[in-house]
């Protein structure tokens, strides 16, 4: 195995560059090093001006999403040796405005997320002395995979619909809405319906499926969206047939 590998890193310096340019760096090729370790090596030893986001380094925080050789990846969970002998091209997440180098503006996602109310909504809260809201293992299984979402936005980067239509609510936000809709303790499905079943919601999705392929946590946002299409269609038909009944 070679001692070093080349990282071709997209650099964008606002005010200096009109578009990103690739800059090559030689970093040590170590078996246990992820792409993020290579970038940290550049930052610490070769070029302190390189900007990128990271936090936990263990695939939990969702901060270090980048485009590695064309694919959206968590840079802390993508190992250099898997791309040897290189070079490895590292770009910011696609479909988001680039602020600097590998740092993107995630404001659009942060604005959309609360619109689907990704928290437990209750009509009436039980008194504390009544204890926890109990759930069976089967009820937990209904939503558990969607609760694994870490908001890393790799799914938005992989989604061609979001690339073409930035009004699309997007895969992660809809999957997180489903995480609560399918939770037996939640009573907020009606409140999420308007946003989810709007033209910018589930109906924008054309089931390309790349969001699910890109997800590093095994969430299936594409599946969540298709499941909700069935729910929304059923609700719409119920509304037509029984206009006075409560949803």
């Amino acid at each position: 195995m070679a001692d070093e590998i080349t990282l071709e890193v997209a650099r964008f310096r606002p005010g200096e560059d009109t578009e990103p340019v690739l800059q090559s760096y030689q970093v040590p090729l170590r078996e246990q090093w992820a792409v993020l370790d290579g970038l940290s090596y550049i930052k610490d030893h070769l070029d302190g001006t390189l900007s990128f986001r990271w936090s936990c380094r263990m695939g939990i925080c969702g901060s270090c999403g980048m485009t590695v050789n064309g694919d959206p990846q968590l840079s802390c969970a993508t190992f250099l040796t898997d791309y040897a002998p290189g070079p490895i091209r590292i770009e910011p997440l696609h479909n988001f405005p680039v602020i600097r180098d590998l740092v993107v503006d995630i404001g659009d996602f942060m604005d959309k997320l609360p619109t689907v109310k990704p928290w437990l909504v209750r009509d009436v809260h039980s008194p504390l002395e009544e204890g926890e809201y109990l759930q069976t293992p089967e009820e937990l299984e209904d939503y558990q995979q969607y609760s694994m979402c870490i908001n890393c936005m790799l799914c938005y980067s992989a989604c061609p619909v979001y690339a073409l239509d930035q009004d699309f609510v997007g895969p992660a936000a809809i999957a997180l809405a489903q995480r609560y809709n399918l939770d037996s303790r939640d009573e907020g499905a009606d409140e999420r319906l308007a946003v989810l079943s709007s033209p910018e919601g589930i109906w924008s999705c054309t089931f390309v499926g790349e969001c699910s392929a890109a997800c590093p946590k095994g969430v299936d946002p594409a599946g969540a969206i298709q499941r909700y299409k069935l729910t929304a269609a059923t609700q719409a038909i119920k509304g037509l047939l029984m206009p006075r009944s409560r949803r």
């Binding site: 606002p14 696609h94 405005p97 602020i99 089967e138 690339a163 298709q226 299409k229």
Partner: protein, 126 residues
């Protein structure tokens, strides 16, 4: 704040195999629509009598019509296979409190296809 927004290339759907497959799947809807129109033309020709039916058969035997229908059949197969493959992602079916495995949902779709095809074949060939 100056930001860089990556433009979406006109041929973005050629960038990945999955994007290309998706666009072909969407395009297959046109051939589904064509097949429906073709079947309606067939029904119309049959209802107009033997001479009209014969004209329909003659026109259907033209090389260009055969070519269109062969392409349409390939797209129909792509449409069916891809949508049946995706069905378990949209349908979560539970039986006796347990989730029915995705393979069984796909198998049920193919079985329903087989049964419907057999019924149509029986109606046409009896």
């Amino acid at each position: 704040m100056t930001v860089y927004e990556r433009p979406v290339h006109l041929l973005w759907w050629l960038e990945r195999r999955s994007y290309l497959l998706f666009v072909l799947r969407e395009l297959s809807s046109v051939f589904v629509a064509w097949t429906v129109v073709y079947l309606l033309l067939l029904v119309n020709a049959v209802s107009d009598g033997p001479a009209s039916y014969q004209r329909f058969l003659d026109r259907s035997g033209e090389w260009w019509m055969v070519a269109i229908n062969v392409i349409a059949m390939l797209f129909l197969l792509l449409h069916v296979v891809t949508w049946f493959g995706l069905a378990p992602r949209a349908m979560v079916v539970k039986a006796r409190g347990r989730r029915v495995p995705p393979r069984q949902i796909v198998a049920a779709h193919y079985f329903a296809w087989l049964v419907l095809s057999a019924i149509v074949a029986w109606l046409v060939l009896r």
